[in-house]
């Protein structure tokens, strides 16, 4: 019984760490800022929650604190990524040419028009070669 809990916890730890690894890889290799937001935040949220679940299997007496950290990450991580994506879209960061649909530009066309803020001026110079 005890070794089964250990094995399950270790397996969850390895799965979570693998998701973190793939998230880091996607963050480095995706062609676009919006794709990087997807790759970076979704996979790291799942990976960290899996690591927390593995820790709860290894030490069942820490379960409440681990559940609290997991719930906090589950609520705040999508929120911060969405706020960052909206800030980038308002700043006029370039999309990759393969982008087919941009619903936010259809709803708020003025956010593309004012592309002269500080973050776009720094990104237009060197943003094309990545």
């Amino acid at each position: 019984m005890e070794s089964a809990m250990d094995f399950m916890g270790g397996f969850l730890l390895l799965a979570g760490a693998s998701f973190l690894l793939f998230g880091g890889l996607g963050l480095l290799r995706m062609p676009d800022l919006y794709n990087r937001i997807q790759a970076g935040t979704k996979t790291t949220t799942l990976g960290t929650i899996l690591v927390l679940a593995g820790a709860a299997f290894l030490h069942p007496e820490w379960g409440l604190k681990l559940l609290l950290i997991g719930l906090f990450l589950l609520f705040t991580n999508p929120l911060s990524s969405q706020v960052l994506a909206r800030a980038a879209h308002r700043g006029g960061i370039e999309k990759t040419p393969e982008t087919m649909v941009d619903k936010l530009a259809e709803d708020f066309p003025e956010s593309i028009a004012k592309s002269t803020t500080s973050i776009s001026s720094s990104s237009n110079k060197i943003g094309d070669k990545s």
Binding site: I69, L84, A87
Partner: protein
């Protein structure tokens, strides 16, 4: 057996940390760096939990919780500043 799993998980998270650090140093725009910073803090929370498992001290989880809170507030503040309205 559990120590082996924890060691391998720490190594994989370390590689992920280095990849995200590469994006943090390279990132063409400011928002790229902020996203990389967000990912780095989440991986750091994983590191704190793994160190709590290695040292077998549950008090480190409180550190992880406060770290998550502060990093979330920092990212939200930077995003609102970049958006140009407070």
């Amino acid at each position: 057996m559990a120590e082996t799993f924890i060691t391998f998980a720490t190594i994989l998270s370390g590689i992920a940390f280095l990849l995200a650090l590469g994006r943090f140093l390279k990132g063409p725009s400011t928002v790229d760096r902020v996203i990389a910073f967000d990912v780095l803090t989440v991986i750091s929370i994983t590191f704190i939990v793994l160190s709590a498992l290695i040292e077998e001290r549950g008090i480190y989880l409180d550190v992880a919780l406060v770290y998550a809170l502060l990093s979330f507030l920092g990212v939200i503040a930077i995003a609102r500043y970049l958006e140009g309205r407070f």
